[in-house]
């Protein structure tokens, strides 16, 4: 099994940390993982993206142009990466702030109202975990218990008290993900 994912959105949305948690979780279940961020003059409000690969085999290139899954969190990223999803692949997005929705007919498209839901939960910071939950509902590539281990490993100890809230957000994301178009 190899899953090649791009996660793209605004800096500050938790794009890189969502990728990091996925990578850690893969590591916890004995997989090969790579996490390749966009880096440089990125800032809160600018665009940020990360390529995460989980595989049962040695990972060749950490840099790829075609993805099994694209998790898209703003309009610029949708415009940039919609065509990079492999035919039959998955595109998951948060429709908040999106005016031009995905057009492709040869991929599976789902949406998750994560921005709205995070506001309802009164915890905007768990936005990325709601998105992660939606993704894991569609592709259960890592077990929830390994996500918990991944959170423990990737978060500094002072934030460990927030793990239950993050797990709740993941479960919420699993509940609210909706089909837009399936092949």
């Amino acid at each position: 099994m190899t899953e090649e994912i791009i996660i793209a959105g605004f800096g500050g949305q938790g794009v890189l940390s969502m990728g990091k948690i996925l990578a850690y979780s893969g590591l916890m279940q004995g997989q090969e993982v790579s996490w390749m961020p966009s880096y440089g003059p990125e800032m809160r409000g600018g665009t940020a993206n990360v390529t995460v690969i989980l595989s049962d085999e040695r990972i060749s290139s950490p840099v790829i142009s075609q993805f099994d899954t694209a998790i898209i969190l703003n309009q610029q990223s949708l415009d940039k990466f919609e065509n990079s999803v492999k035919p039959g692949g998955l595109l998951l997005y948060d429709p908040n702030g999106i005016s031009r929705h995905p057009q492709r007919k040869d991929i599976n498209i789902y949406k998750v109202e994560a921005t709205t839901e995070a506001a309802k939960m009164g915890a905007t910071k768990v936005f990325n975990m709601i998105v992660l939950g939606a993704y894991l509902k569609l592709k259960p590539i890592v077990k929830l218990e390994n996500i918990e281990k991944g959170l423990t490993e990737s978060l500094p100890a002072r934030h460990h008290k927030l793990i239950p809230l993050n797990l709740e957000a993941i479960k919420k994301g699993m509940e609210i993900v909706e089909i837009v178009h399936v092949v």
Binding site: S34, P37, Y39, S60, S61, V63, E153
Partner: protein, 360 residues
């Protein structure tokens, strides 16, 4: 149980320095290698092993602090990125001339000048052909994974001390910034001053009564003696060339076409090779691990077997000159590269192979 961690290449390098029993790291921040010192400062190795971490006033300061520490037989290292490495060239030349061991990592970014902060391999010539003045060579290791960013630190120190020669790790923004699984090795102890004194008869540890003075210098005004020193250096480089060549070959046994790439490019090429093989094109990959000494002989051998070679680099064509030397122009050798921080995809590399080598 092996200790596994998910780390950035830069962090793995920093952790490896502590575990290799390094005595001192001197550096000055620059993207994309700033995590090295950030990690070291946060990790406080002076509490773990007594290793010193110091942010110098400039890259010139850093390399000359390395020079001083190395002269005392200490395991010293620094890291920077392209423009910073250019600033260090004078010091590196002095260290090479004085025959001192040290480890220097260049996390290459695009140039020339301040260029870009995105990944590049445009410092191949500078690293392998002696970036500073004078007739000298660095041993150059090219890591292509986060694991190698870790492993090559202790290997680098081993080679540096074996040959009393500076070793450079030529990495890039991809390998420095990405995270992968790393298997950590055990902590090695730092040498005591007495051990240094006994192991390294050249180290300036303070003149003892009845013992010869130990002098470290790169200055020799007598041309006869300077030439002798040059010949001695050249003899050392020939020895390095015969004993320290390292490379990796993948699917070369039945290969009809060959990709040659190092570092991050080699990772991209590996996927391109897999894509090609799934289409029935017999592609092999040769990845030099030591860029100096360059693996000329395997290139020569493979050039008698394959129909063409594509050299893939994140530059305008530098290592290709060494590949051509190795292949003796027996077959077609072409270059494919992106620069300025652009990174080709595996699909781009396969397309270049089909168009420039197979079709051409």
């Amino acid at each position: 149980m092996k200790e596994l961690r998910l780390m950035k290449g830069n962090e793995a390098f920093a952790e490896a320095a502590i575990r290799a029993g390094a005595d001192a790291y001197f550096g000055y921040p620059i993207t994309p290698q700033s995590e090295v010192m950030e990690y070291l400062m946060a990790e406080k190795p002076y509490e773990r092993t007594g290793m010193i971490v110091l942010q110098s006033e400039s890259e010139l300061g850093a390399i000359n602090m390395v020079y001083g520490a190395a002269a005392c037989g200490k395991r010293a290292l620094t890291s920077s990125s392209s423009p910073g490495i250019s600033l260090m060239q004078e010091g590196i030349s002095y260290i090479a001339g004085s025959e001192l061991p040290c480890l220097i990592m260049n996390v290459v970014r695009g140039g020339p000048g301040l260029g870009t902060i995105q990944p590049s391999q445009s410092d191949y010539f500078q690293a392998t052909k002696g970036g500073g003045h004078g007739d000298y060579r660095l041993i150059v290791l090219a890591p292509s994974s986060v694991q190698e960013m870790f492993d090559f630190v202790s290997l680098g120190f081993e080679l540096a001390f074996k040959y009393r020669n500076p070793v450079m790790m030529l990495s890039d923004g991809v390998i420095g910034q990405m995270m992968e699984k790393v298997e950590l090795s055990e902590q090695q102890g730092r040498l005591t001053n007495q051990q240094i004194d006994e192991l390294y008869p050249w180290a300036t540890t303070g003149k003892k009564p009845g013992k010869e003075r130990r002098i470290i210098t790169s200055l020799e005004l007598d041309p006869g003696r300077q030439e002798k020193h040059n010949l001695k250096l050249q003899e050392k480089y020939r020895k390095i060339e015969t004993t320290e060549v390292r490379y990796e070959t993948l699917h070369c046994d039945d290969a009809e076409y060959l990709l040659v790439a190092f570092g991050s490019s080699a990772r991209i090429c590996q996927k391109a090779m897999d894509l090609g093989r799934s289409k029935g094109i017999k592609i092999g990959l040769m990845r030099p691990i030591t860029l100096y000494p360059f693996p000329y002989s395997i290139i020569e051998q493979l050039s008698k077997q394959v129909k063409g070679i594509l050299v893939v680099e994140l530059n305008a064509g530098q290592m290709i000159e060494d590949v051509r030397l190795g292949s003796h122009d027996r077959i077609k050798v072409e270059h494919y590269g992106r620069f300025g921080g652009m990174i080709p995809s595996p699909v781009d590399v396969l397309y270049a192979m089909e168009k420039q080598i197979i079709g051409g």
